[in-house]
Symmetry: C2
Subunit: 520 residues, 2 copies
């Protein structure tokens, strides 16, 4: 069986000890094994800091951007092979796999372009210079410089390519070396990408390392100049944040965690209208794409009570038409969950929802999927749980079920009630609104804005509308509260996490000479 290796201190390292098995989640066939035991984590971090950091900082943004472009091109050249791994090890349909792999490539290209635009500089000038005293001689100028540590990235199982790429793109462009830790269950894709990059000798030594298997004590080894970006469950994030060194060294930690993303239908939208159809299409896509295993997927479908039964009936019909099974079959539209543990969690979550609402579609019971032996694979049907207006629905607002599961919640149609319902999620990555009523949109947008990192306004005239579940490199990804309080992407905004802002204060000619700017 294939043994995945870690890549650190400039070489491949095979783990010792008992490895974890990586399966095909549709067939449960073992595909590979991985262990991080025996990898000297302190040496890996030290190598990245001492060798990788200086090499990246010696490059301009354009130079670092060129590296990202080469990474994207190398991935593109191996696209079909990567998609095959997404299907086999990720339980992805080919379309799901493209969402991950092509999303990764597009994000790398987007950051390559930002690097090209930032040009020959090695650090960022932040804002305008300011006169500090009575005479213009006393001058201040902020700059952002790369941090001198290592960027540790702990990624979730659902996007092994995109999660790797979107975090690495920002860190490498900022000038920080990366140690990337994919979730073990779906690590074959990230591992193969690393092999491709190492074989192509794209990056300077120490700029990019990969740890497969358990992270072990990795977060405990970070110091004041290091940063940690984590995507995964709120529970794991909480354990990381509470580590003594993370607290005492003020290690920057960015978290993307749980989110009960809401899609809200406005009171003006009539069944059958273009806006209504768009709403249904995007809800259905978010429930079933990647079997609902997207942190940005719509979990709460909030509709006016007057049309709740229409929405229910239409969604039930649409979900019923989704073919669920082995994603290696071209006619299948939804694959399995990633692991047996995820399936158990999802079933428990559906039971929690069903205890308070009504199962309008699907259930927690074992599901007979297409194209696999009966009882094989981590399959669950799409699930829609319906709640009457005013129902407590406490589980619907408090527990993210990371699966093709959504709650349908009726409300009055009034903007303040919509905002109050969205706020019960206690902070989210994205909420989406579907309405043509400018007054309702304004009241609802500003009502929900403090609790969301992104607000998507559905509109049928947007060509190839990606829906709220798609994260774009130009827009920030992250959200307050339950979502982890983090922020990634957003174009050049992403660099800030990997850089130290410094105020330079002194004589204007001295500072201008230092920064290479001309006197004004």
């Amino acid at each position: 069986m294939l043994s995945l290796r870690s890549y650190a201190v400039g070489r491949w390292i095979e783990g010792t000890g008992t490895p974890q098995l990586l399966l095909n989640p549709a067939t449960e066939e073992p595909l590979a094994q991985a262990s991080s035991d025996g990898v000297d984590l302190a040496a890996a971090l030290d190598h990245a800091r001492r060798i990788g950091g200086p090499a990246l900082r010696a490059l301009s943004f354009a130079g670092r951007g060129a590296l990202l472009k080469s990474i994207a091109q190398a991935m593109q050249a191996h696209r079909d092979e990567l998609l095959d791994l997404a299907v086999a090890n990720g339980g992805n349909t080919r379309s799901d796999g493209k969402f991950d792999v092509e999303g990764a490539i597009a994000t790398l290209f987007a950051y390559a372009e930002i690097g090209e635009k930032l040009g020959s500089a090695k650090f960022l000038v932040d804002g305008e210079g300011v006169q500090l005293g009575r005479s213009p001689r006393f001058h201040g100028q902020h700059v952002c410089v790369p941090r001198a540590g290592v960027a540790v990235h702990i990624n979730a199982f659902n996007f092994p390519a995109w999660g790797f790429a979107e975090k690495a793109a920002a860190a490498l462009l900022a000038g920080m070396p990366v140690l990337s830790k994919p979730a073990t269950s779906s690590a074959m894709l990230a591992h193969r990408i690393m092999e491709i990059l190492v074989d192509a000798k794209i990056l300077p030594e120490g700029a990019l390392s990969l740890l497969v298997g358990s992270p072990r004590q990795l977060p405990s080894l970070l110091g004041a100049q290091d940063v940690l970006a984590f995507t995964g469950s709120g529970d794991t994030a909480a354990r990381i944040r509470a580590l003594p060194n993370i607290i005492s060294e003020s290690v920057r930690v960015n978290v993307e965690a749980d989110s009960l993303n809401a899609a809200v239908l406005g009171p003006d939208v009539e069944p059958g209208s273009d806006m209504y159809e768009l709403f249904l299409t995007e809800v259905q896509r978010d429930i079933t794409q990647k079997a609902g295993q997207k942190c940005t997927a719509i979990r709460r479908v909030v509709v006016p009570a007057a049309v709740a039964s229409n929405v229910r009936d239409d969604l039930v019909e649409m979900l019923g038409a989704v073919r669920v099974g082995n994603p290696a079959l071209s006619e299948v539209r939804m694959g399995p969950l990633a692991t047996a543990a995820q399936l158990a969690d999802a079933r428990a979550g559906v039971q929690r929802l069903a205890a308070e609402g009504n199962l309008a579609f699907g259930s927690a019971t074992p599901f007979a999927a297409e194209g696999v032996e009966a009882g094989t694979g981590f399959f669950i049907s799409p699930v829609l749980v319906e709640f009457a207006a005013g129902a407590a629905a406490s589980a619907a607002h408090a527990h993210e079920v990371f699966a093709p599961v959504a709650s349908l919640l009726a409300y009055s149609g009034e903007a303040p009630e919509a905002a109050a319902i969205v706020a019960r999620g206690n902070g989210g990555l994205v909420s989406s609104l579907y309405s043509d009523d400018a007054g309702w949109i304004e009241a609802t947008v500003f009502g929900i804005a403090p609790g969301n990192g992104r607000i998507y306004l559905g509109h049928p005239k947007i060509e190839l509308s990606p829906g709220p579940g798609t994260v774009l490199p130009q827009l920030v990804h992250g959200g307050p509260g339950r979502a982890g309080g983090g922020e990634e992407l957003g174009g050049a905004r992403a660099l800030a996490f990997y850089m130290q802002r410094v105020a330079l204060e002194g004589s204007r000619p001295v500072i201008q000479k230092l920064l290479g700017t001309q006197p004004g």
Copy 2:
């Protein structure tokens, strides 16, 4: 005796239980007492969130800025009374008191001006709009909106006026209500400011509350929309950051903690030159101003070995001329420390330094101050501890002594060694460089930048040079690692902490209408 009261839920509340005594630290005369027992903290937070937040968010930036201007003017009208309290309760000389009180007023005026410039908007448009699809119709625009919670400010004892004002200015301008908790030992000044503001009816109800006495479980009551800004010791900061709700709710916490700020003399600077004299003046000011109780004070004086004895002799002479005693006397230049506990800490710190280096000036032994009864008051002499080039000096780089105490460290004069010495502080608020050698400045600035929030470049031609110890509202204040990883001030940058950035995504005309912008 005066009983300080808290101001919450729109009224003054006297604490119950055993109060803490507030003293004159020069005479140890009791001046007031304070207790927060019996104050319903949950009700105070709830009132701020429900009443204060909406009232502030209903105002434009210009409207909030006008409130700040009124606060500044009210403080200005009571300036002499406030200075008297700084002397009596803070142990400040009149000059120290001005540094605090006038710094507070200037910062409020600076943020009032920012509010005026931001004008009639109630939220910030962040960056340019971006085209997201093939057609310009699919559009993205980031905005920053006020958070819907309360901003809790826990301030340090050393700047009861400025600490209150600089934090409140940013939060109120952003649109968040404030609950301010001054350090109890020196709370008379913040308490009097609150009285002045309440009497003048400047702020909307719930916009500003004051808690005197222990914070009790205040940080444990915060949720996802609240923020906490803390200035004080790293130990207390660590306890706050580890609280379960702070972690699970992703409560934003900004920390300004310990910092071993370094002042580095370049190898080109000759004794007797203008740059050399400026360096001495600013080091001496930072050691003695507010008896060294400034988070930005120079703690490590790093000089080329070739001139180390000159610097030592000159500083010893200058420190010897400083009259230490009751700050109520006009001839006194340095007052006592704030409390008996601070004095005990400072003495222990001096002993730690002296165990590794040589006491060039002063000591940890009890100090006979001017104008007080022998043995009265929390006085310590200025202290300079000298270390030879290459000495381990581990305490000098690891323990902030919050007192008129500095370490004098010799180095080769080479920029990389200077950077390595500065980096041993593991993150700082500010470092200062004194040199006319552009090459040395460049190498040292970029060597130390990742570890510092601010870099001050001393220059004798800057009129009224404030030195590195003065925090200006235009420049960010905060630093990585030991300094807490926080960031305050920096002009409009300060607002970000109190606001949620949200990406708006959708049809361009819809978003432009929503934001009131005209189609381009």
